[in-house]
């Protein structure tokens, strides 16, 4: 077999990585290369350097070290029984590509994952070597995200966390039964144990107020995970419950939801249809409401039907329409918690409403100005000059607030 060119390998190994939803480069420590003669910085918020036509941001060079894999997870394009073209980067090649791309300001850093080859330890060691070389040999201060290989030794995990900003272990499926059915070699409890270990190391790395010794650095941007939506029969309730359990158990920064999309050379046991992108979108909205708006999973699920979120309207509006007795909310008097429940008002708008009402009582126009748009908000609030009257309980309200389907332009 003729050796593949670097560009061909890049094509194969980025194609193989495109099903992982995460591309975030935010939430790490602040650091830069000033005065070091190296390159790279992270300033808290990540930067999306480009966008693919799938609407997803390109922030990191997201590649696999290799797409050879001993596992046979049927939802995965890289499973051992798949007939896709295989390739493998050397450690030096990944380092060079990362630096070349970074210096041209194409990327924020590297997201490196890999198929499992030989053993979990061998594979993890290879990933760690790339990160170590970037940091030590090239004084690289950009963002590094490494995939955790479950069952790799604790020493490798510790070293991975020393070089990487973020670590992730994918939970893959919302239910254990789904995972066992689709990925017979992966053990759900091994995946969760890996997350538990990362959490333990993250806890250890937190500075202790009592002791002066600074703990060793460990993955300052925390850990994340991904689950695939729509490849098994799990409903949205099961998905969000799983997410809530993961957030609370392992202090995850993010759970990524990835609509299952058809893969080349797919197994006949998979639903090969267009990926459920709207469902994925609603799950992200619901996840957001849980993390930042004080909603719990049963409340969100109660906005939909039969354990599934309403696809035609966002989960906050769906909840409000089913809990109309709690509206209208008086924007001049209500507390923050209740304002957070008003459809169409976000945390920033609410902050501005609260500072403004110290000056004067708000009118509907004022709220419109702050919120940017008033249509969705109007039926749920009272202001100095507005009360929705029967509008809140109007049976046609749902239809009125449901966006009309529109033909999306192809370009």
């Amino acid at each position: 077999m003729a050796a593949l060119t670097l560009r061909r390998k890049l094509a194969v190994l980025s194609d193989a990585a495109k099903y992982d939803a995460s591309c975030a480069s935010s939430g790490s420590e602040k650091r830069n290369s000033a005065g070091t003669g190296g390159i790279g910085s992270t300033e808290g918020s990540g930067i999306c350097h480009s966008y693919a036509p799938d609407g997803r941001c390109i922030s990191l060079l997201k590649i696999l070290l290799t797409n050879f894999c001993v596992y046979d997870c049927i939802y995965c394009v890289n499973r051992s029984s798949s007939n896709v073209e295989r390739a493998r980067f050397s450690v030096e090649e990944v380092v060079r590509l990362t630096l070349d791309f970074y210096k041209r300001n194409y990327i924020e850093g590297l997201f490196l994952s890999s198929g499992i080859i030989r053993s979990p330890d061998y594979t993890m060691e290879e990933l760690v070597r790339v990160a170590r070389s970037l940091r030590q040999d090239h004084k690289f201060a950009g963002y590094i995200h490494l995939k955790v290989i479950p069952n790799a030794t604790a020493e490798l995990l510790t070293e991975a966390g020393r070089w990487a900003d973020r670590l992730s272990t994918n939970i893959e499926m919302p239910t254990d039964l789904g995972l066992e059915a689709l990925a017979p070699e992966k053990k759900p409890s091994e995946i969760r144990t890996a997350m538990a270990r990362v959490r333990g190391k993250l806890d250890e790395a937190k500075p202790d107020l009592k002791s002066k010794a600074k703990p060793a650095k460990f993955a300052p941007a925390g850990q994340s995970t991904q689950m695939i939506i729509g490849a098994d029969g799990a409903d949205d309730g099961a998905i969000l419950n799983r997410a809530a359990g993961l957030y609370s158990g392992y202090k995850l920064r993010r759970v990524y939801y990835s609509a299952f999309s058809p893969i080349p050379d797919a197994s006949s046991r998979l639903p090969l249809r267009a990926p459920p992108l709207m469902r994925e979108h609603r799950l992200y909205q619901a996840d957001w409401l849980i993390r930042f708006y004080g909603f719990d999973v049963p409340e969100i699920i109660s906005g939909g039907e039969g354990g599934l979120l309403d696809l035609s309207i966002d989960p906050k509006l769906a909840w409000a329409l089913r809990n109309r007795a709690r509206f209208p909310v008086n924007v001049n008097r209500a507390d923050r918690e209740m304002l957070l429940r008003v459809p169409g008002l976000g945390t920033k708008s609410i902050d501005r409403i609260i500072t403004t009402r110290r000056h004067h009582r708000l009118r509907l126009d004022d709220v419109a100005r702050i919120a940017g748009s008033i249509d969705k908000v109007r039926p749920f609030i009272e202001t100095e000059d507005w009360t929705p009257g029967g509008l809140t309980d109007d049976q046609r309200l749902r239809a009125r607030l449901t966006p009309q389907p529109e033909q999306l332009s192809l370009f």
Binding site: N32, L270, F411
Partner: protein
Amino acid sequence: MHIVRVQALNDFAEWRGKARQLLAAGLSPEQVEWRMVGEAGGLFGDVEEVPLPAASGPVGSVPRQFLDLAAQAICHSDPARFSVLYRLLWQLQSDNQLLGNAVLDDNSLLTKWAAAVRRDSHKMKAFVRFKSIVDDSGLERFAAWFEPDHYCLELTAPFFARRFDGMMWAIITPYASAFWDGESIAFGPGGRKSDVPQDDAVEGDWKTYFSSIFNPARLKVAMMKSEMPVKYWRNLPEAELIAPLIRGAREAEKSMIERAASQPPSRHLRQAAREIAEEKRSDIKSLTDVRSAVQTCQRCPLFEHATQPVFGEGPEHADVMFVGEQPGDQEDLAGKPFIGPAGAVFDEALAKVGIDRSRVYVTNAVKHFKFEPRGKRRIHQRPDAGEVQACKFWLNLERDLVKPKIIVALGATAAQSLLGKSVTVGKLRGESLKIEDGTTVYVTNHPSYLLRIPDAEGRAREAIKFEADLAMVRDAIAAS
């Protein structure tokens, strides 16, 4: 009417100096017109220019928030920025809470301008594309052409200096340029696109990456355009790929879907999973066998959310076995029993009465952690009768293999599992009970009960009772 001439497009320090002078002279916004140097005419035609008063008296202070927003807003391209900022500054002298009022016209203008500048600056950080230039001596430098909407190069250049310390680079925009030599940033006049090379050796790799990372089954063009507005495309090397990628997407997706097959129903998958999971008791001959078999336990739904089963620990033939309720948050993460706060209470009590923990077997009635997620915490939930019953399979195996003479049930759940009925701890503690296989069972509280008592006095009282129960166990061990 006073006309104030401004030299720089976006120099906050310059505006601030002039504004302080005007304030000190007591000139209201209506008496002042701001113009760029060299700019003729204005709102009122050719008014007579009165030189700026030389007054430099004390001026009032303004909130920090104003300075931050104004330093950004001054980079906005709107020619009215200088005068609007002065109008706000003037009003702030009499009402320094003004900025909290989000619905005021000038306020929302200031916020909007600052946001537009921040966005433009952010897009510069994102969409600058450096091209490498290697000269005859092999020295590599990088240059980029960028067209911002506002005057934000000076604001953004320090970011590039922090990021690309070890690189020599230049960013050229139509109104100004910035150069980094490894030590400091120098600013110069604006330039043209042709000042920067058109090609770069790595661009081909970048385009390969851009087209390979795109998933044709997930077309979301509107989303892409809202985050990467088309106006930036002409300077992004990858943008020329967008149209062909979109054109080919439908075909690529269709060809994958056409090879579709149906999925077996989810109940079929669940059934298949259960068949694998059923364990055979006859294969289990030692505690090590049980420990490995329990890893795949799916006898009740708790396995789904717990990290891992937490199996018992202790010598294979211990005289005494302690049975708790279920692992807690820390036990679940570490996979070991009684290591969290309740474990600490337990260890302390054992040490006090003189029982060596390393000589006893410690386990739980239920092996998986049951909890309710609440934000960043997992709140312990009591296992129900069905879960206790399902897990009895494992506890019985442990009892058969360890063969303890004495079993201590810590709490009602453990007692329920061992005695086969629901019981009240208070009624049974202090008694030694013989169960059908001849083992002696003692019942006492779970150590976590002590942790939940709010007052120190009550806690101390209960601790004494708990230790008395353990002392009875200690004496029974000695007598056995």
